[in-house]
Amino acid sequence: MKTIYFNKFYKSFNILSGILIITSLIFLVFKGLNFGVDFKGGTLIELRTDTSSANITKIRDSFNQMNLGDVSVKNFGNETDFVVKFEKQNSNDPQFIEEIKTKLSNSIGTVDFRRVENVGPKVSAELLRSGVIAIALSLAAMLLYIWIRFEWQFSLGAILALFHDVIITLGVFSVFSLEINLSIVAAVLTIVGYSMNDTVVIFDRVRENLRKYADVKIFELTNISINETLSRTIITSVTTLLALLSIFIFGGEILKGFSLAMILGVIFGTYSSIYIANPVLVSLKVSQRTIVKEEKE
């Protein structure tokens, strides 16, 4: 197979990644994330209307008359399905949901509540905290694992690649105001696993080649390793993306955000294994001595 000179573009792609990360961070800090009811508290109702004449404006108007705080209405999948979210959470009143349903039926006709989620402020704060802890823990666990398995230069490369993927994926969610809910946390954790997986495969090869070729510069060596593992990288990314696309297209509205996050994560993860993890090895001047020294100890 023809060798592709990935290493020629290390610099330019690093600049691009830097820009993407900074942009993501700016959005994350100033715009923030669009938290769903899981993390913000409040009520979510997925409803199906009888007629297609019910539209977002109508539904929003009737909800606005009920004094429920900030109301957001979105189409969900097809024309008759909507998701309504509002701040008020009142699950202690057993009639709360029933009353909304009655009022809504009066103004727009028969509605079917397909899903109701009602999360109190205490629970949402706890869910958010445990979500953040889960992501932090998994990053720490990956760091520990790779630290045991590889030399520190490799760990640094892999962890930088991980942060890159997580930050940019969350950045995309911030830019497009996509909802962050529990399943996105699951997706981010899986991205962490996948990105690590991808990096480890290339790093294993880099280390093997370091032992084999004493006089090849790391700049060249990373490129050789990337090329040798390239067909695997492509095939695995393709099959994973095929599976994820299938969930995204056919898996229903509930899994849309989850599968989108995963798709982005797989793309960024594959990219970062090549263009973040390897340049780190180059700039840390990893050589045969790096691994031989470690092994002697």
Binding site: P94, E98, N118, A186, G252
Partner: protein, 517 residues
């Protein structure tokens, strides 16, 4: 790496077949004892309600402190120590002691054996933290005392919740403790939790108290409003009878008034008390109070001695049934708040299952087709491994009766996408080895050997993510972590035992063929 002993081939085969049988048993109705296990569908797939209740322990704490104050008063009186100014404030008891007795009180409170410290013998820990400033003492529940109190009220509450839910008769409810003040209630198949919520939301503290004519009653009086909010009444604080003495309650029709009522029967103690009170109180109005609201206050026309009575109060048949149910199941030790509720209707659940299966089939076909296109015969081997992987995965989930959720199905699809990775790593490695090695058996063998650490590394990282998700995630997300984690294990099994076995047979038979892969 290509050698397999006969025994090993046999055990791989048997293991795969048995686990696969569990998978199939999900789809067929086989009537045998051993294989009746089924995968459980999560609430998001079968529809149902998930309620998280939190006990509001404050009333219990206040109540406990109140009775503790009485205990203290008696205790110190017996010891001839004057204590005064008992106040309950901020969940603590405050009182003053005369100057000369401060030390004595201190030592009494510290004494592990005194009856003031009932828990010490058992748990080696004080029930209260004691603060002393001059003549003033402040007693506050210690952490341990609080935990004990919360646990006991949680145990009581969960029992009452279970009775109420059981009485409503939903199928296979799941009621679990969460921490020391929460109860999780899962109600499969229930798409309108309104009734259950209103049943669980009531403490159901029933008391009978006389309506007071004069405000200078020895027990004191309190002003309570009627259930329908129409008016208020002054009620004596003396409790004639409480719900504890109730043996049974059911909705009935009163033949005279043609009205739905709740008729109840009392235990022996209750009947005696009730008989005595009603004998003395003929002509007075007896208020029936539920959770601080008066349901009705009928006039006592004659003594009620038999221990049977009726509660009237403009009931519909439904509300009478619910009240009877609440009275039968008993009062909660403290109010419950619903802090999280998730309800999925049955048809959304069905839609989710269909969408999940649809995307699984399509994702599977795409991956299988791609692998065949890339590797031809070896693609078939990888695909066979993938199919057995799926059977193993679903079979193991069935064996452990794991709960399958929508994200769980996503986890299975993701496993399909990522499972081929191991075989791809191996095949690519073999291709490389074949470039420098003419003996294809050696090349295949070293392809397997050399890719092994990489495959382990790659799968362990994903497994770490799955394990963390399992411990940190809740509900549907837990389902995802289970399928993802089990999926990794079955992937490794299918790659190293099934795919390798077939590869080995094929390579050994065709070792002289050119361009094997």
């Amino acid at each position: 790496m290509l050698y397999f002993s006969k025994l090993r081939v046999f055990s791989v085969l048997i293991f795969t077949l048995i686990i696969s049988y569990f998978t199939i048993s999900n789809f067929t109705k086989v009537d045998d004892e051993f294989f009746t296990k089924n995968i459980k569908l999560g609430l998001d797939l079968q529809g149902g309600s998930y309620l998280l209740l939190e006990i509001d322990n404050e009333p219990v704490i206040t109540q406990r402190l109140q009775s503790k104050v009485l205990e203290f008063k008696k205790f110190f009186k017996d010891k001839d120590i004057k204590v005064r100014n008992f106040v309950i404030e901020n969940k603590s008891i405050i009182f003053d002691v005369e100057n000369s007795k401060i030390e004595e009180v201190k030592s009494l409170l510290d004494d592990d054996k005194s009856e003031i410290n009932p828990y010490f013998q058992q748990y080696k820990s004080h029930q209260f933290n004691i603060e002393n400033m001059d003549t003033s003492f402040k007693l506050e529940f210690s952490d341990y005392g609080l935990v004990l109190l919360k646990n006991s009220s949680l145990d009581q509450a969960i029992e009452i919740v279970r009775r109420r839910v059981d009485e409503v008769g939903t199928n296979e409810p799941n009621i679990l403790k969460r921490g020391n003040d929460r109860i999780l209630v899962e109600l499969p198949g229930l798409d309108d939790p309104g009734r259950i919520k209103s049943l669980l939301g009531k403490t159901a503290n029933l008391t009978f108290q006389f309506i007071s004519s004069s405000s200078e009653e020895s027990f004191g009086t309190e002003k309570l409003s009627f259930e329908d909010g129409s008016s208020e009444a002054i009620v004596s604080k003396r409790i004639v009878l409480s719900g504890d003495n109730l043996m049974d309650a059911k909705p009935t029709m009163n033949n005279q008034t043609n009205e739905t009522v709740v008729s109840f029967s009392l235990d022996r103690v209750g009947a005696k008390k009730f008989g005595k009170a009603t004998s003395n109180g003929v002509g007075k109005r007896l208020a029936i109070v539920l959770d601080g609201k008066i349901i009705s206050a009928p006039e006592v026309r004659e003594p009620i001695i038999g221990g049977n009575g009726q509660i009237s109060g403009n009931f519909t048949f439904q509300s009478a049934t619910d009240l009877a149910l609440l009275l039968r199941s008993g009062a909660l030790p403290a109010p419950l708040n619903i802090i999280e509720e998730r309800t999925v209707g049955p048809d959304l659940g069905k839609d989710s299952i269909n969408a999940g299966i649809m995307s699984l089939i399509i994702g599977f076909i795409l991956v299988v087709a791609f692998m065949f296109y890339k590797y031809r015969f070896f693609g078939l081997i990888a695909n066979l491994a993938l199919i057995s992987n799926l059977f193993l995965l679903v079979g193991i989930l069935t064996l452990f009766e794991a709960t399958l959720t929508l994200p769980g199905i996503a986890g299975i699809i993701l496993t399909v996408g990522m499972a081929v990775d191991a075989n791809v790593l191996i095949f690519e490695r073999i291709k490389e080895e074949l470039k420098n090695e003419n003996n294809s058996i050696v090349a295949f063998d070293s392809g397997y050997t050399k890719s092994r650490t990489t495959i382990l590394d790659a799968n362990i990282t994903t497994l770490i993510a799955a394990v963390i998700l399992f411990f940190m995630g809740s509900g549907p997300i837990k389902g995802f972590s289970i399928t993802l984690g089990v999926g990794i294990l079955t992937t490794l099994f299918s790659v190293y035992f099934i795919a390798r076995l077939i590869t080995a047979y094929y390579v050994i038979k065709n070792k002289h063929k050119e361009k094997l892969i």
